[in-house]
Amino acid sequence: MNNQEKQIQYFFEPWLMKIKRFFLHFKVLNWLEKDDEVLHPFRVILNKEISDHVRSWRFIILIAIITLTCLGSIYTALTNMGSAVKPDDPEGTFFFLKLFTISDGTLPSFFVFISFLGPLLGISLGFDAVNSEQNNGTLSHVLAQPIYRDYLLNAKFLAALIVISVMFFALGFLVIGLGLITIGIPPTVEEFMRIVFFILLGILYVAFWLNLSILFSVLFRQPATSALSGIAVWLFFSVFYSMIVNLIIKPLTPSEFATPNQIISFEELKLNLLRIMPNQLFSEATTTLLMPSVRSLGPLTMEQVYGTIPGPLPLGQSALLVWPQVTGLIAATVLCFVLSYISFMRREIRSR
């Protein structure tokens, strides 16, 4: 190396280092340093779990099912777009949101599909999270490493959640893109925000089912048992629970001559009983977000409605309206997580 080259090197090296450090600060060029970097054990487990999900046949099949059904529902929405838009519709300005909500009755709409397939997705990603590790003898192997025990549980949850989030956002944006190409009208900022909130809500909903199935995977030793219990809960809520509520409610139905107060409290009781179901919470929340003209989720008296001009709510107001539902979903998710945490943390880890 001659003198000139050396000089150039001396001149540039500090700058190169600075540039590199600048990028590292933002973790943009992280891969440059990867070989010398010590990853946090939590990241290690998380990376492994995510790659496990992505490589698994189960996930590929689920993606295929969900993508196909979603494409189907978009197709029906697009073909019915013309008849769905009426001139005096208060939601006329929210043309784009219709993509997610309309159907001609042959295929359910996009958001109904999500509320139906979401639980399946959550259950199938989580039902063998802990018990399969135990049955393969890898659980005691991993826990014999110097890591906190909850890393495993948290990483399992977070990995599935990340995978689901990426998938939902991809699907949502796919729908937006297809809509853009076929309709030719771009969504407004508010519509876009509503769609993003809807996707976030969908992820939260799947997170609940995911946690429930992780809980079952901690409780039951056999993956088949835990999968079945998850599906049983899902079926119970989506089929039987509303029937049971109707049964309970029937003898309580007020007579025709009851006071408005009685009728209102009856209606509220009925709704609150239904709201124990996560499906109900999710569908109420999504309806409000995707149909801006929805202004109340409970009964309204004539006095309240009198004099209102039918018109869409702004996004903030819609969000405020669904806040209790969102909180309920978060609470249910956290509850499942806490239960699995408690049962996992002090458990004895036998080798097989």
Partner: protein, 328 residues
């Protein structure tokens, strides 16, 4: 505390009314190979789980490397390599990937981890199979991979739970050689549980005998046999045949044997003589081999062989575990 790397004090573990480990006191010195020997269900695995903080003791304390395993399991796990019984690897990943996972969990940086994993895979003889998925590994290969896995973190103590289970004899020998070499070269402390006494006998410096949650005896094999067979520590086995001069048939073999027994019983120190098909079992309180040899020759019998029986773990094992109930 000095020199003792594992200390168990009054350790008890109960599952409901069943006591798996009962008032266990045990210490393992630095650098030795210690064998936990006992039948299935004796509480060996439970004891090991408590050493790693994977199970909580009902009472008593466990200290490994001077750290309490119950309250601070992470620090213990940083220093202790544990190979569980039936070790499991992710079967959809290769051996290399599995070891890398362990290495990264132990906070090794990428490049360092890679070098170490390659070195260890070579050491256990799995370099050629490193890229194969562990689902296709044989039992012996899995066990060797497990040993490599345990060593990634540079442990001070290695705990192996039934490591020889289900491997063929050659595999066992190779595996045990690896363990012994390891302990001698790197000065590692090895705790090794097994119900197979031969494997324990081959490699262990000291042995602890476990029966239904209790440690019955501990020490090296020689002290153990002295402790257990203190009354008649020597057993001499000998076999005789008719001397050639007696080919005529008189005095008969029966007569010869009877006469020999009489002679033997007169020797000072011999406690009992039993005869089965001309094989004599002679229990004595001191080493009387020369006298016995002389007596046989003088009696005119042919001496086929004469050997001093060493007490192996075999005898200790059967004496203890088969009669285990009597010792309760």
């Amino acid at each position: 505390m000095d020199g003792n790397i594992i200390e168990l004090v009054d350790l008890t573990k109960k599952y409901g009314s069943f006591t798996a480990v009962n008032q266990l006191n045990l210490s393992v010195r630095k650098g030795e190979i210690f064998g936990l020997l006992g039948p299935n269900g004796a509480g060996k695995s439970t004891t090991i789980l408590m050493m790693l903080g994977l199970a909580d003791p009902t009472s008593g304390s466990v200290t490994v490397c001077g750290i309490d395993s119950t309250s601070n399991p992470i620090e213990v796990k940083r220093r202790v390599g544990y190979l569980p019984e039936n070790v499991g690897f992710y079967s959809n990943r290769s051996g290399f990937e599995n070891l890398m996972f362990t290495a990264l969990l132990n906070r090794l940086a990428g490049r360092e981890a890679k070098q170490k994993v390659e070195k260890l895979l070579g050491w256990v003889g799995l370099s050629d199979e490193a890229g194969k998925k562990t689902g296709k590994y044989s039992r012996g290969m899995l066990q060797r991979l497990g040993l490599a896995d345990v060593l990634i973190k540079d442990p001070e103590v290695v705990i192996l739970d039934e490591p020889t289970l289900g491997i063929d004899p050659t595999g066992v020998r190779e595996f045990l050689d690896l363990i012994v070499g390891l302990s001698r070269q790197e000065g590692l402390t090895v705790l090794f549980s097994s119900h197979d006494l031969h494997h324990v006998q081959q490699v262990c410096d000291r042995v602890g005998l476990f029966v239904s949650g209790k440690l019955l005896a501990e020490g090296d094999i020689e002290t153990l046999s002295k402790k257990l067979f203190s009354k008649n520590p020597y057993v001499i086995e000998t076999s005789i045949s008719k001397a050639p001069s007696d080919a005529s048939g008189f005095p008969g073999k029966e007569y010869l044997a009877d006469r020999l027994i009489e002679t033997l019983q007169r020797i000072d120190g011999i406690v009992s003589v039993t005869n089965r098909d001309d094989v004599f079992q002679i229990e004595c309180s001191r080493d009387t081999t020369p006298e016995i040899a002389r007596a046989i020759v003088e009696a005119g019998a042919g001496l086929n062989y004469l050997k001093k029986k060493e007490f192996g773990l075999d005898d200790i094992y059967y004496r203890y575990f088969d009669g285990g109930v009597n010792h309760e």
